[in-house]
Subunit: 345 residues, 2 copies
Amino acid sequence: MTKRTKAPTMLDVAKVAGVSPMTVSRAMKEDSYVRDETRKRILEAAEELGYVFDSTASGLSSRKTGFVAVIIPSINNANFADTVRGITDGLRGTNLQILLGYSDYQIEEEERLIAQFLSRRPEAIVITGGTHTPRCRKMLENSGIPVIETWDLPVDPIDYVVGFSNADAAKMMVKHFVDSGRSRLAFIGGEDENDRRGYDRRNGFLAGLSEYGLEQTRQGDSGRPPINMRKGADALKDLLEKWPDTDAVMCVSDLAAFGALAQCAKMGVEVPRQLAIGGFGAYDVSDVSHPAITTIDVHSRKIGALTADIIRNLLAGDSEVEVSKVARIVPELIIRETTLISEPA
Amino acid sequence: MTKRTKAPTMLDVAKVAGVSPMTVSRAMKEDSYVRDETRKRILEAAEELGYVFDSTASGLSSRKTGFVAVIIPSINNANFADTVRGITDGLRGTNLQILLGYSDYQIEEEERLIAQFLSRRPEAIVITGGTHTPRCRKMLENSGIPVIETWDLPVDPIDYVVGFSNADAAKMMVKHFVDSGRSRLAFIGGEDENDRRGYDRRNGFLAGLSEYGLEQTRQGDSGRPPINMRKGADALKDLLEKWPDTDAVMCVSDLAAFGALAQCAKMGVEVPRQLAIGGFGAYDVSDVSHPAITTIDVHSRKIGALTADIIRNLLAGDSEVEVSKVARIVPELIIRETTLISEPA
DNA sequence: TTGAAAGCGTTACCAA
DNA sequence: TTGGTAACGCTTTCAA
């Protein structure tokens, strides 16, 4: 941290380079008409003075901040992290920069974040889910910028959507359980509406049970979101105490599923012979664990990539590309060892 | 996205409320002298017009952007995510907002990020590690803002430091292995200098071997960082092919350790009887897996909390609090099932 | 407690 | 290809 009187501005650079500030401004952009020689002189002057471009002033003047606000429920979640990576990668090469926030699965925090972010004048905003408080919705609608809802297929979208039906995805697992000869199915997680994706999965699962005429009572308790491995383990223990003859359990995420699997190992419950386990999200752990865990891949990264496509077309748009309002992701069931077809017990 | 002619400014609010823009500005701040009644009128006018405060303009004018730039190697890493959470939590209540970036363990990307972030005029910058390119170091030193290096104890710090010695932490594991009767020790991960923390751990481990007079040849190959569960599993397989009599392996992170453990289960290698496994980072998986994995907790979240303390004292400082330059974290060995003392084979 | 004027550092716009 | 001028929307500073 060097002592300094005052950071140099374009004016300072201009003086040293013997040009006008306006020319310095042009020289800082990749494109723009500046003679090569002039630009060279300017960049040298900037280097010499230790000039650092001020995006704050640039944003105010041009009304383009280069920010894309992104709000996810949790920073510590491989799925959402993958979506963010997809966005980042897709935005590479543009001048757009992500302003990332996480709500910790709390509605009030999401409201606060949206308000805070909008004051930064982002050029687009990406949010997780399609269910919002009236206040959030109003802020987003009034923002005047493209809004992209992800990880869901809202009935009444605000603007753009990149997502899938969590309920339908969960139903895939019910079908798979039934197809592999299970009939006493349970679900762990998703009780709390604050994690709307989880809540939708759970309800989709229950709806699936209903379609197959199966009983819907077997539900583990996992407390406040987010669920984690430990909670998954604890919930499985409770579940088997209450309903010992359960022969298949789906967890709201792979983390819980892994916890459940570890708990089975500890309790001597054989997986998949006695109990089948299904997860959600295609986390690394479900692939590497032994036995490997059946899961549903929702292509988190692709959600981000498609989101970035929309943003690029809208903001850096090469003329009038037609951008469709809804990009639908197709979740994929990945069958692994924890749900191998059981032999008749 | 509603059509709009132009977003309302303080001037518009001022007109409606019948005051000057300056008074509106004051009314927007929590403190500041404004008569309660006046403020009420102003806030109503703002609400009515759908006014949204412009931080961009505010930042330019006041030269306080409210940004704290934070750069971590990866967004998809529970340890770094915890540090970010620690910072976020610690900064709650201030007007400071995190500008988060991740370098993907690439030096060039880190350089790019630092340059990009500095143009946003953050009020402080937090970086991971204490090893930087000369260009990075120069940018940081010239930035004129507090710089906080984390997750390391640099020999020649730029400014503030919150960290620990990765090498010393790794040595704890060597000692533990030796104490529990192991002598043919191996290490997986940390070959690539781009992940400096991992690199330091590996070298610390090797130094530890040397201190105990043990051979240092057993090293797994894990490719480019970051390591993950799959790479850990593969590396363990290779390792045991090359050195089948290895009786303990430390992995650069718990993720790799879990992969190694899963691989052992698959190959029928008994843990800990035949092979002890140690990880690093106290990830959830090491606690929940069966058997549970011995690890080293570096208190990632506390690193963030202490970082936030420094920033608060420096920026929101109640007068002249003395802020010490180095906050040292003490890593903690957590002994679990994968390294239980072996009976003589 | 409120207001007026002068920037903050950049870019849009028009002119040369 | 370059320059001059007037914003951009807010806050600092000083005065009332």
